[in-house]
C-alpha cells in the first residue's frame, strides 16, 4: 500500500459520490447519513495524506472502505427501489430490541435468486471506535448505523418470501447483543472457534437464534419457505439440517421445552434484553378482510406481523379458499398486493394518528 494507491481509492470514491449525489431517499435520515459521509470524505480528501505513516494509511483505507460500503447500500435504498412496506415491518420488530432511532435499515438488491443475507460489518463497538477516530482526527462523526440487508432484486416485492428477512434481522440482533458469541465465550473462555467442530457449534447457534427470532413474529412461515428452498438439506458447518431447524422452531411454537431457547433467553435475561417469545397476535376469523379482497385492517403491530403468517395460510390453501377461482399468477399477485396494501394502510393510519395528536397538542 502506498500514497498513490490510496489516491486511486480516493478518486474512485469521488466518482461514486458524484453519481449518488442526486439520489432521493425514502426518509430524511438517509440524506443526513449521506451528507455526513460526504463531509468525512471531504475532510480525508483535503488532508495531508502524503505525510501519512503506514498505520495511518491503513486506517484511512479502512475508513474509505467503510464509506464506500455505506454508499452502496444508500444507492440501493432510494425512494423507488427500497421495499418500503417490508422495511417498515422490520423497523417495528427492531424497535422492540434496540433503540431504532440509532439505525437506518438499508437494502441492497442482489441479482442472485434466494440471496437473503445480512452484512454484519458494524457492531455497536466498532461504530464507537470509528466515531472516536473520526472525532479525534477530523472533529466529525456519524449519527446513524446502517443495518445492511441484501435481498434478491426479483423478490423485493414478494412478501411471502420476504418473511426470510425477519430471520436476517434476527442475525442482526444476535450480532448486536452478542448472544451466540457470549454463549461461546462462556463455554470456551475465548471468543473465537478454533476447529471445525467449534465453528459448527457457533454457526448453528446463530442460525437457531435467527430462526427463533423470526418465529416470534411470523410463526412457522419462515420455515415453510425454508422447507421449500432447502428441503431435506443435511446439516453443514454453517447451517443445521433443515429438519433440525424446523424441529427447534416447532418446539418453540408449541411452547415445549427447547434447550436452544433456554440458552438464548438466559443470555438475554443477563443482558436485560427482551426474551424470545411469541410476538404476533392472530386476528379473529370474523375480522379477516382479505377474503373480501380488500386490505386487512390491522389494529396493532402484533397483528401487522401476523399478516405474513395469515397470508402464508391463504397461499397454502389457495386451491380451496376464496382464491380457488383465480389462475395461479393472479393468486400470487392478489396475495402480494393485499399484503402490501394492508401494510401501507397501517403506515398511513399510524402516521395520521401521530400527526393529529401533535396537531391537537
Amino acid at each position: 500500500m502506498n500514497v498513490k494507491t490510496f489516491e486511486l481509492q480516493l478518486i474512485q470514491l469521488e466518482e461514486i459520490f458524484s453519481k449518488s449525489r442526486n439520489n432521493i431517499y425514502s426518509d430524511d435520515r438517509k440524506q443526513e447519513h449521506f451528507n455526513e459521509l460526504n463531509a468525512i470524505f471531504g475532510a480525508i480528501s483535503s488532508s495531508d495524506y502524503h505525510g501519512f505513516k503506514d498505520v495511518e494509511l491503513s486506517e484511512h483505507v479502512m475508513l474509505l472502505g467503510y464509506i464506500s460500503s455505506n454508499l452502496e447500500y444508500l444507492d440501493n435504498s432510494t425512494l423507488n427501489v427500497i421495499p418500503f412496506e417490508m422495511v417498515h415491518c422490520l423497523e417495528c420488530a427492531l424497535n422492540e430490541w434496540v433503540d431504532g432511532s440509532d439505525f437506518i435499515v438499508a437494502t441492497s438488491l442482489s441479482n442472485k435468486q434466494n440471496e437473503f443475507l445480512l452484512e454484519s460489518r458494524d457492531s455497536k463497538e466498532s461504530f464507537l471506535q470509528i466515531n472516536n477516530y473520526l472525532l479525534d482526527r477530523y472533529n466529525k462523526e456519524l449519527s446513524h448505523r446502517l443495518i445492511r440487508i441484501v435481498l434478491p432484486k426479483a423478490l423485493s416485492r414478494d412478501y411471502l418470501s420476504s418473511v426470510v428477512l425477519y430471520h436476517e434481522l434476527g442475525h442482526f440482533i444476535d450480532f448486536e447483543l452478542n448472544i451466540s458469541k457470549k454463549l461461546f465465550l462462556q463455554k470456551h473462555l475465548r471468543p473465537d472457534p478454533l476447529n471445525e467442530l467449534e465453528y459448527k457449534e457457533h454457526n448453528h447457534n446463530m442460525e437457531y437464534f435467527a430462526d427463533l427470532f423470526a418465529a416470534q413474529y411470523v410463526g412457522d412461515s419462515s420455515n415453510r419457505y425454508l422447507n421449500h428452498i432447502a428441503h431435506n438439506s443435511p446439516g453443514s458447518i454453517t447451517h443445521p439440517s433443515t429438519q433440525n431447524r424446523i424441529s427447534v422452531v416447532d418446539l418453540f411454537l408449541e411452547k415445549k421445552a427447547c434447550k436452544y431457547l433456554n440458552d438464548f433467553n438466559h443470555v438475554l435475561e443477563a443482558n436485560n434484553s427482551p426474551k424470545l417469545e411469541q410476538r404476533y397476535v392472530r386476528i379473529e376469523e370474523k375480522k379477516i378482510d382479505l377474503e373480501k379482497l380488500i386490505p386487512q385492517k390491522l389494529e396493532t403491530e402484533k397483528e401487522l406481523h401476523y399478516l405474513f403468517l395469515l397470508c402464508w395460510d391463504l397461499w397454502d390453501n389457495s386451491d380451496n379458499n376464496f382464491l380457488a377461482g383465480f389462475e395461479r399468477r393472479q393468486k400470487y399477485k392478489i396475495v402480494n398486493n393485499l399484503i402490501e396494501k394492508s401494510i401501507s394502510n397501517h403506515i398511513i393510519k399510524e402516521t395520521w394518528a401521530k400527526s393529529s395528536t401533535r396537531f391537537l397538542d
Binding site: 457492531s123 455497536k124 466498532s126 465465550l185
Partner: protein, 98 residues
C-alpha cells in the same frame, strides 16, 4: 475470487492496537475511557467477580479478546487505573497469542 471477504474483527483489532500503541507513547485518545473500562471488566471476569454474560455490548469485542489472549496478565494487575506499562503488557500478551 479476487479478494477475501473483509474481516471486521481484524479491523477492530487493528484499531484497538493502534490506540493502545498511541497510549504507550503517552498520547491521549477519546477511546481511552472505553479501553480502561474494558480492561477493568476483563479483570473482573477472569478473577470471577463478574458474570461473563453481563459484559457490555459497547466493548464486548475488546473484553472477550482480552479474556482469550491476556488472561494471565490480567490476573496479575493489582491497580484500578492503568498506565503505559499496563497498556504495553496488554500489547505484548495480545501479540503472543495472535
Amino acid at each position: 475470487m479476487y479478494l477475501a471477504k473483509t474481516n471486521s474483527s481484524r479491523e477492530q483489532y487493528d484499531l484497538y492496537l493502534n490506540v493502545l500503541n498511541s497510549l504507550v507513547e503517552g498520547n491521549d485518545s477519546p477511546s481511552k475511557p472505553n479501553i480502561d473500562t474494558a480492561i477493568s471488566d476483563a479483570i473482573k471476569v477472569v478473577k470471577g467477580e463478574k458474570d461473563i454474560l453481563t459484559i457490555s455490548n459497547s466493548n464486548y469485542f475488546l473484553v472477550s479478546t482480552l479474556i482469550g489472549s491476556a488472561k494471565e496478565f490480567l490476573v496479575s494487575i493489582k491497580v484500578n487505573s492503568y498506565n503505559r506499562e499496563i497498556y504495553s503488557g496488554i500489547i505484548s500478551s495480545l501479540n503472543q497469542k495472535r
